[in-house]
């Protein structure tokens, strides 16, 4: 009774606040009713209903629904109800569902939120399903461990990503630079930026603070978070000053756009790389194809800045599929995840949109089907595999709030409202304040 009341209250509080979220879905009244059918074939004949949710773009929604349809033709007894949204709305929908113990059976989870859900006992450990419902023969230990937290793996790695600089060689030429050297350094980068600026072209639109600061710290042997996840993983604030100072100088000198210029960008049509006024973008490899299509000129991928690129670079799980702890049809959910990761036909629909597939067999199967841009991504990720270091442990609980603080401080820095030294100190105190709750 008490639990019921709590559910109602939470649902109400949530709905009252969630004025702005919109997506056609039913805030679940049903969770799966299936029981263990005891077979791995997914055969079974008991009708089973699974709920599944993800975030993404229109493209992702479309092909994911096709994959589900395909699964249904092979497993007619399984019905999958889908709930999807864009990234921001997704998390606002998921949080109250978690509070009400009504998480979908299968849900897509982001690395930033991973610890929040897995650490709070919302997700099922997948290790019992590895080698049974989920075939892991063609998946490397490393890829699987992307979702490791403590002794368990609470999310199936759906694909692999690597950081890089995605640029338009034509714009680079306009900026007066012939090419990007193979092992380019910060000095190369900064002098290139200065040259581009002389020709009225921005070098890039900035580096997303939380991702690239983490990278930078790795290049000097430090981490953003400490082992226990209850504090920062570096002691010397000078590192913050060095990294963000350099970036802020680019903004100050006019080689990178100011935040008020960036604030005007509403969509692809305003994107400066598309318009040819900016050389490129620092981002994850799975974002390359979409950008290239928008730019509609040949684009290239350059690796990260030296020194320390090999130590800094890592392969990151793009996202996970997790099974909620309260799911009543965990085996069935696991079978679907297996299908998603290991089925050739399914992956011909997915085409690496959720990152380069973790299964080596699937990777080979897809090669002939890929567009030249996708081949570039696959090749870059393959190159990264040889030239990177193991990933840091998953982001601790509170990471999202730490990101928000970092983002806000770098914004102030780029507006010239705070010095890099003060921002470094302030970030330390704000981040420690959030992370100390993990003690």
């Amino acid at each position: 009774m008490k639990k019921q009341a709590k559910k109602v209250v939470l649902a109400l509080m949530a709905s009252a606040l969630m004025l702005a979220t919109a997506c056609g879905s039913n805030a679940g009244t049903n969770s799966g009713t299936g029981t263990n059918t005891g077979t791995n074939s997914g055969g079974g004949d008991k009708p089973i209903t699974l709920r599944m949710s993800w975030w993404g773009s229109e493209t992702r929604h479309e092909y994911t629904k096709k994959v589900i349809d395909l699964y249904k033709t092979k497993n007619p007894n399984v019905t999958i109800e889908v709930e999807y949204a864009n990234y921001d709305d997704y998390w606002k929908k998921i949080a109250p569902q978690a509070a009400a113990n009504e998480l979908p059976d299968i849900m897509q989870i982001d690395t930033g939120y991973y610890a929040q859900y897995a650490g709070k006992d919302q997700l099922a450990d997948l290790t019992p399903y590895f080698g049974k419902e989920i075939d892991v023969t063609n998946i490397s230990e490393n890829a699987l461990n992307g979702g490791k937290l403590g002794d368990g793996v609470y999310g199936m790695n759906l694909g692999v990503n690597s950081l890089g600089f995605h640029y338009d060689p034509a714009t680079l030429a306009k900026a007066g630079v012939d090419s990007i050297p193979e092992n380019w350094s910060w000095d190369d980068y900064l002098s290139m930026a200065a040259k581009a600026k002389e020709n009225g072209i921005y070098i890039d639109g900035g580096m997303r603070a939380e991702v690239f600061f983490g990278y930078y710290l790795r290049t000097v042997g430090k981490k953003l978070y400490n082992e226990a996840g209850n504090g920062l993983g570096y002691e010397d604030d000078q590192l913050f000053v060095d990294f963000f100072g350099k970036l802020a100088d680019l903004v100050k000198s006019g080689a990178a756009p100011t935040p008020d210029t960036l604030a005007q960008i509403k969509g692809v049509e305003d994107d400066m790389t598309v318009k040819g006024t900016q050389v490129g973008v620092w981002q994850w490899s799975n974002q390359f194809v979409a950008l290239q299509q928008a730019v509609n000129r040949p684009m290239k991928i350059a690796s990260m800045l030296n020194p320390g690129a090999k130590e800094g670079l890592y392969l990151k799980p793009s996202m996970f599929f997790s099974i909620s702890k309260n799911s009543k049809a965990k085996e069935e959910a696991a079978k679907f995840i297996n299908f998603f990761v290991n089925d050739a036909d399914a992956n011909k629909l997915i085409l690496g949109e959720r990152g380069v597939p973790v299964s080596s067999v699937i990777k080979e199967e897809l090669k002939p089907l890929l567009s030249p841009e996708q081949v570039q991504v696959f090749d870059y990720v393959a190159w990264s595999e040889e030239n990177s270091s193991p990933m840091d442990p998953v982001d601790p609980i509170g990471a999202i709030e730490v990101f928000a603080s970092l983002k806000s401080l770098t914004e102030q820095l780029n507006y010239g409202q705070i010095s890099a030294e003060d921002a470094a100190k302030k970030f330390r105190s704000e981040a420690e304040n959030v992370l100390k709750k993990n003690k």
């Binding site: 009341a5 709590k6 109602v8 209250v9 939470l10 109400l12 509080m13 949530a14 009252a16 606040l17 969630m18 004025l19 702005a20 919109a22 921001d88 998390w91 606002k92 949080a95 109250p96 978690a98 509070a99 929040q116 859900y117 709070k120 006992d121 919302q122 100011t258 935040p259 008020d260 210029t261 960036l262 604030a263 005007q264 509403k266 509170g398 999202i400 709030e401 928000a404 806000s408 914004e411 102030q412 507006y415 409202q417 304040n433 709750k437």
Partner: protein, 299 residues
């Protein structure tokens, strides 16, 4: 006998039950729960743990962003509400004339309020105020430089205020009703005595409208404090740039559903309730000084 009265009462209870049940489920229980959560550390995913007043104290001692959201909201309310009321009264007076198309005008002016809180309007507003938006084109045509409405923290809040002023329709309609209620004899008599437009306005219209102004002021004050959607859409949910549009309700929402700090968010909600309560009480207290009721004259 007894069963008869029970049966009689039962009908009454049945009729009021939708309200009572609705009130309990949708208002009282959630409010009580949020009061309880406001004294806890509660992340939605695990059980709340009691921390006493810590949420309340850290709000005022260690959270710069909270103070910023308070500041932004105060600016928004104290700038937006008076402007909106003045504008509403202005339009109401124009519409209080005898034109044949007056019905159409009233509808047209009221429309923004109906669709005003919606996502679509906020998106439209974003486009209007964009770098090459209508507003900047107009500014340029009269020789003023473009303003970076989204990039400049102060301009961004001003943009929200104009959006709120534009949605003056509901208070305008109430003013209009008030204006209709002022006896025309008063104007006629003062006209005979030689009063001009401004004398009529300040000596008759405004004093006669004060009860309506009081009502509008309080309603608008409360709704302005709860503004959420425009700030959410225009700043893409983050309250930027530089927390310049971080309205109170937006920050509360971020604490609750982005940072999973439901306890803190609940505490914020209660502080907001207190602030709005105090302000409303203050308006009521001062109303004795400036609100005139016709019946008082005969006392």
């Amino acid at each position: 006998m007894k069963s008869l009265s029970l049966r009689n009462n039962l009908v009454g209870y049945t009729f009021i039950s939708p309200f009572v049940i609705g009130f309990l489920i949708f208002t009282l229980i959630p409010a009580a729960a949020s009061l309880y959560f406001s004294f806890t550390d509660y992340d939605l995913l695990s059980a709340p743990s009691w921390i006493g007043l810590e949420n309340y104290t850290s709000m005022f001692t260690s959270d710069d962003r909270y103070m910023q959201s308070l500041k932004v909201t105060m600016l928004y309310v104290f700038l937006g509400v008076p402007l909106r009321l003045i504008f509403a009264l202005f339009v109401a007076m124009i519409l209080n004339t005898t034109s044949k198309a007056v019905g159409l005008y009233r509808t047209v002016y009221y429309l923004p309020s109906i669709i005003g809180g919606s996502v679509a309007v906020s998106i439209m507003w974003r486009n209007l105020f964009g770098d090459q938006g209508v507003i900047n084109v107009m500014l340029n045509s009269i020789g003023i430089d473009s303003v970076r409405w989204f990039g400049d923290p102060n301009a961004a809040l001003f943009m929200l205020v104009t959006l709120s002023v534009w949605q003056f329709g509901s208070s305008m309609l109430i003013f209009l009703a008030g204006l209709k209620n002022i006896p025309t004899e008063l104007y006629e008599a003062s006209g005979v005595d030689g009063a001009g437009f401004f004398t009529k306005f300040f000596r008759i219209t405004l004093p006669m409208l004060t009860p309506i102004i009081l009502f509008n002021l309080i309603m608008q004050l409360i709704s302005a404090f709860m503004t959420f959607v425009p700030a959410y859409i225009i700043s893409k949910g983050e309250g930027g740039p530089l927390d310049g549009t971080l309205l109170y309700s937006l920050y509360l929402f971020r604490q609750a559903f982005v940072f999973f700090d439901m306890g803190y968010a609940s505490a914020m909600a209660w502080v907001m309730l207190i602030i709005v309560g105090v302000l409303t009480a203050a308006v009521f207290a001062t109303s004795k000084l400036w609100v005139h009721y016709e019946t008082e004259g005969g006392r």
